[in-house]
Symmetry: C2
Subunit: 437 residues, 2 copies
């Protein structure tokens, strides 16, 4: 049986999972592939820690360059993360004619265009199924299964940490800080949680998917990003009264010659399947002209689910190598000469529905002042609720708008937040609900 050598760079959590699968599931993989994927070298600065794996003599090394410079290694798996040494080693591997697999969404979101160009010029593949959605095969689905579709939109829960925290805020009416602490205790959130809770990780992922779906370059800087730290149990409770749950959604929509790409807490109806995706799980709904809606659901992070996606890339590449080919599928879904210069719509131009929670002093005329300002900015309200106890002399007044333009909403809120009768900044949550008009 033919042997294809794999080199692993970085043996942290996911790297260890990749090594485990290559060793412990080797017969399963071989029966399907018809060849052996052999983990020839593993580079990590720490080669002392016991990872629960029996590496053969000489496999472990601290010298990553020795791995990418090994002419017997055809597939390099980059699991270091970050944008420094990882990028350097990927470029080196590409230059050496090795096929490369990465799960490094931060690097791809910021420098993927350059890396894919480099891979194209050297005629090698740069695969990244594990970069988005962990074990959900969203990259393969967009590039292969939906190949006959014009993609209309994608709506996804792409960060398990945020979804866990929001599930806690929703299910147990826990304040954000407590939910975050619990997530940290359980190992679902980092000590510095900002990459997750500020929506940045989700933005990396939707930036990549947006490029794949519509045949454009990756454009992270123009993705709108808003995190979940402002979400309160009070907003979750009001959302339920309107029939909604709050999720951190990545939203990407094809608007003809522009696209929307935005990450923010979003209210969605109970009957939207995404509203029932709880805990650390990820899910994504993709809408295409031929298929209608399809949804994928699965663990978006963690050692083994992510490693499983890495191995699916490795087997794909190995099948190509066995057939004497590479670059069977273009990295960004369309052939490079078909990549279009499509812009992401500025957030100001987005038109959607809004939930507002005003902290209004309980005085006559306040409501009409607020409504007046909204009206002057072309924002009309379809439902309103004022209930609950007074806190700091103010009562929460919540409203759901008809379709309104983000720029108008921001101007109106700036004006409203300056009112003496409004005691704290207005809370805004965007709504995705096709039933609303």
């Amino acid at each position: 049986m033919k042997t294809i050598n794999v080199g692993l760079l970085g043996c942290g959590t996911v790297g260890t999972g990749v090594a485990k699968l290559l060793i412990e599931s080797n017969p399963v993989i071989a029966a399907r592939l018809g060849a052996t994927l052999n983990l020839k070298r593993v580079a990590d600065l720490d080669i002392e820690t016991d990872r629960g794996i029996q590496f053969a003599q000489g496999v472990l090394t601290t010298d990553a360059h020795a791995v990418v410079n090994d002419p017997d290694i055809e597939i390099i798996v980059e699991m270091i993360g970050g944008e420094g040494i990882a990028k350097e080693l990927i470029l080196k591997a590409i230059a050496n004619g090795q096929q490369v697999i990465t799960a490094n969404k931060a690097l791809l979101a910021s420098q993927g265009n350059m890396l894919f160009k480099a891979a194209a010029e050297e005629g090698v593949d740069l695969a990244f199924e594990a970069a988005v959605g962990g074990c959900m095969p969203i990259i393969k689905s967009l590039r292969e299964s939906l190949v006959a579709n014009r993609i209309h939109s994608m709506t996804g829960i792409l960060n398990g940490t945020c979804n866990y925290i929001l599930t806690k805020i929703t299910g147990e009416r826990m304040p954000f800080d407590d939910a975050l602490s619990e997530a940290q205790q359980k190992g679902y959130a980092e000590a510095d949680p900002s990459l997750d809770v500020d929506g940045i990780d989700t933005a990396h992922k939707i930036a990549i998917l947006t490029a794949l779906a519509y045949g454009m370059n990756i454009n992270l800087p123009d993705v709108y990003i808003e995190g979940i730290s402002k979400i309160t149990p009070l907003d979750v409770a009001f959302a339920e009264q309107f029939g909604y749950r709050i999720k951190l959604l990545a939203i990407s929509k094809n608007k003809g010659n522009q696209v929307e790409a935005r990450v923010h807490p979003t209210m969605i109806p109970f009957d939207n399947l995404l509203s029932n995706v709880n805990g650390t799980v990820n899910a994504i709904m993709v809408s295409g002209d031929a298929v209608g809606d399809i949804m994928l659901y699965g663990r978006g992070a963690g050692m083994m689910p992510t490693a499983s996606a890495v191995i699916s890339d490795a087997v794909d590449i190995a099948r190509n190598l066995m057939a004497g080919t590479t670059r069977r599928i273009p990295a960004l879904s369309v052939q490079r000469e078909h990549i279009q210069n499509i812009k992401i719509m500025p957030m100001d131009e987005i038109v959607t529905h809004y939930y507002f929670r005003f902290a209004a002093l309980d005085r006559p005329g306040v409501l009409s002042t607020i409504s007046g300002i909204l009206g002057r900015h072309d924002i009309s309200i379809q439902s309103m609720q004022q209930k609950g106890r007074k806190t700091n002399g103010s009562v929460p007044v919540v409203m759901v708008s008809h379709l309104a333009k983000e720029a108008d909403v921001q101007k109106a809120l700036t004006e409203i937040n300056r009112l003496d009768v409004v005691s704290e900044p207005t809370m805004l949550v965007r709504i995705e609900d096709e039933q609303l008009d």
Copy 2:
């Protein structure tokens, strides 16, 4: 740009969808593939009907053999259905060295082993993504995305007609016959609905998936099949009281040296995502050792969703042809020499939880007689309800069992149904609930 010629056999609903995509979405496909898929010939007995497609001169023919014998056609798409002429033409195409795509699950379930062997011997591919789950990429996920996983189980809603009918029975407490009529009026059910409502179509699909998941041959005769025609609004209502919904599930489980493969109405808890999959939609949950649970969701039938899956096969094959290769991925997931002789467990040996509805005359001692018979057959009950009005002098008594063996259950019910105090055959619905002990 390179052109790859496609021949279409059968231009009914899905065939028309395939033709539409190949013509109207040709530029989208070409931008991704880097080649043109050209619909060179279309064979159908009816070449008069207007299908809303502008076929070029000479494309349409009534002679299917002319299509499979055309040496310029590299890919044959079989959309005729049935097990007669379709099989003959597929074998002819294989013998001619053409790559073949089919959505014909009935044919694959009954004769797939022979067809895959023929394709292997001729060195061509026989692709079938559209045969199971319509646009849900379940075949690709099992064969490619989950390649590093030992599959533990699959649980799926694989027939849109049944799911529509059960959704109606559940949501509107509509009797089966009325729900079926409505499905027929809406075009979701055939005039002869037995293939769908008797569970046969679902069995075809799970027979195929079971082979793919565990690396074995297709074994339709040993799949247990039970349809939905006995499900009543009363059972749906009782199910809800226990926290369950009733779905027609295809269940496939890896039991080491045997597998389970069965199709029957099943009660599942509200918090199981499948319980919220309503209408004509399909969904499948797959559990693997590395990924945990993943779920796919999408339209399982219909012209364009199914056609989209066919085109994904066509593009996969075209990419292989452009790379000068075929048979990149083995049809049944593992290399042919690794296909194992794994048996499907006889239904009698299944161990699961059961819901029983007894039509018991309202007399003293009846309950203890029934319980006694159950006890003697090692069936212990974990909850019981007796409510509702008397009909024909009997009251429905419902019970949920602890784990019990199917053979014991069948023996007990035979005995119970013979009792004078039981006025109609006992209703049985199996339960899938990991929370039960």
